[in-house]
């Protein structure tokens, strides 16, 4: 994508930024890259395989990246929504980064998929995306591609799970979570897990049992879902990073549905939009309260 290459080269040349975080061709499809010279920028690409949420690299926990100075970062709409959340939660100063938005026609589930986007290979979040042209950004590149197809598998899976009895659902998750080894990859990759010290690491008192047994796993994934409620932009990085193949985006998707249905929440790249948790409406529905 020449426009992207030109823009980022110029940013580096002019000294506007010290590094550019973007995508390049890698051995297994597309991968993130930190470009430090205009030369590096020539490798920058963007296509349906640009699955990663590069907002992760703006998290304050990535101290090794922060020391490299002012960064420009390539963002899809969903990634921009994550940046907006970082801004809203004061984890990032707007002036410290240059945001390059890409008009987006959807991405695959994996970095290595090929062929036209279809309902079978498109990422769950892409269908009906309202952020295909991010507004938060400093620069917006590319032409607006056609709308992505909608993947229905996840919604179907959520619906199917909801059909089950509580005991059957419990059983399903018991089997799924049994594989969790608490490697914390989901936490490490999440652009919005920004705590200095995760609640799961707190010892006195201990909130979440830390050894990888099922009871601790349940607590951990419940806490994770709770802490991401109203913040998660559904980038799906957690599931992609999970070595145990736990269907984390199914949980995220369910939480997203709840936030949407109850509080009209959709991920947005407006950092001034109020977050649904931390605000309230006196008339919030309370059908579950006696």
């Amino acid at each position: 994508m020449q426009e992207l290459v030109d823009l980022t080269s110029k940013l580096l040349q002019n000294g506007d930024v010290n590094v550019v975080i973007g995508y390049e061709e890698g051995p297994r499809g597309v991968r993130p890259v930190v470009a430090a010279t205009p030369d590096d920028c020539r490798r920058l690409i963007f296509d349906h395989r640009a699955v990663h949420n590069l907002a992760t690299y703006l998290s304050p926990r990535r101290k090794h990246l922060r020391v490299r100075g002012r960064a420009a970062v390539v963002l899809k709409g969903c990634d921009a929504a994550a940046v907006a959340t970082l801004l809203r939660e004061r984890q990032l100063k707007r002036d410290d980064v240059v945001l390059i938005g890409v008009r987006c026609g959807g991405v695959y589930r994996t970095t290595t998929a090929e062929g036209a986007l279809s309902a079978d290979n498109v990422a769950d979040r892409c269908g009906g995306c309202a952020l295909r042209e991010p507004t938060l950004v400093d620069h917006l590149v590319g032409d607006l591609p056609p709308e992505p197809p909608t993947a229905g598998q996840r919604a179907a899976r959520i619906a199917a799970l909801e059909e089950l009895s509580p005991a059957e659902r419990f059983d399903y998750w018991r089997r799924s979570l049994a594989d969790c080894v608490r490697c914390n990859a989901c936490r490490a990759v999440c652009p919005l897990c920004v705590c200095e010290r995760c609640v799961a690491d707190k010892t006195d008192p201990q909130w979440i049992e830390s050894s990888p047994h099922l009871r601790g796993n349940f607590s951990w994934h419940m806490a994770r879902a709770l802490h991401l409620a109203g913040r998660c932009v559904d980038c799906g990085e957690c599931q992609r990073a999970c070595p145990a193949g736990i269907p984390l985006t199914v949980i995220n998707g369910k939480v997203g549905q709840v936030m949407g249905a109850r509080f009209g929440f959709r991920p947005t790249d407006d950092p001034d939009a109020p977050a649904p948790i931390g605000t309230f409406d006196p008339d919030d529905s309370q059908e579950f309260i006696r």
């Binding site: 509580p166 005991a167 059957e168 419990f170 796993n217 709770l226 709840v258 309230f280 006196p282 309370q286």
Partner: protein
């Protein structure tokens, strides 16, 4: 009031008696429960109250923690919307509970084990109903060892 009559006759030794933890706010529900006492409203003896300043103080993970420790049911109760001693704690809590409840349900915790209620300082009667209904419901569901024993299952 079937619960009250039930308590008069000692239960069979091996009958299941659920353990229920109630997280309540100091200003409304705790005081409402006090009023139930002053009014001598008989109710099931299965509920153990933990007093907190406000429902706003209640992290949903408290509920999970209670299940981990072998509670069979949980009650969460505070001031009616608009009556919060701290103005808005219960409004924030309501949003948090709404989400947490659905997540718990989605992960397979039977939501009949958790009761959310608003009980004001003047609703001693309502408090006894909440206690009795929750106890009856949880008794029907049986013990919730499933959760406590997860640690053994893995």
């Amino acid at each position: 009031m079937s619960e009250a009559t039930a308590t008069r006759t000692p239960p069979a030794v091996d009958a299941f008696e659920p353990k229920i933890i109630a997280f309540v706010c100091n200003w409304c529900t705790y005081t409402g429960a006090d009023l139930a006492g002053t009014s001598r409203l008989q109710m099931a003896p299965n509920v153990r109250i933990i007093r907190l300043p406000c429902t706003g103080r209640i992290d949903p993970l408290f509920i999970v923690k209670a299940f981990e420790r072998g509670a069979d049911g949980v009650i969460v109760s505070g001031c009616h919307p608009g009556d919060c001693h701290y103005t808005a704690g219960n409004f924030h809590a309501r949003r948090r509970f709404a989400v947490a409840r659905e997540i718990m349900g989605f992960l397979g915790i039977d939501l009949d084990r958790v009761t959310f209620s608003w009980v004001s300082a003047s609703e001693g009667g309502k408090w006894s109903e909440v206690v009795n209904e929750t106890t009856a419901r949880v008794r029907k569901l049986g013990p919730f060892n499933t959760y406590r024993d997860l640690v053994a299952g893995s």
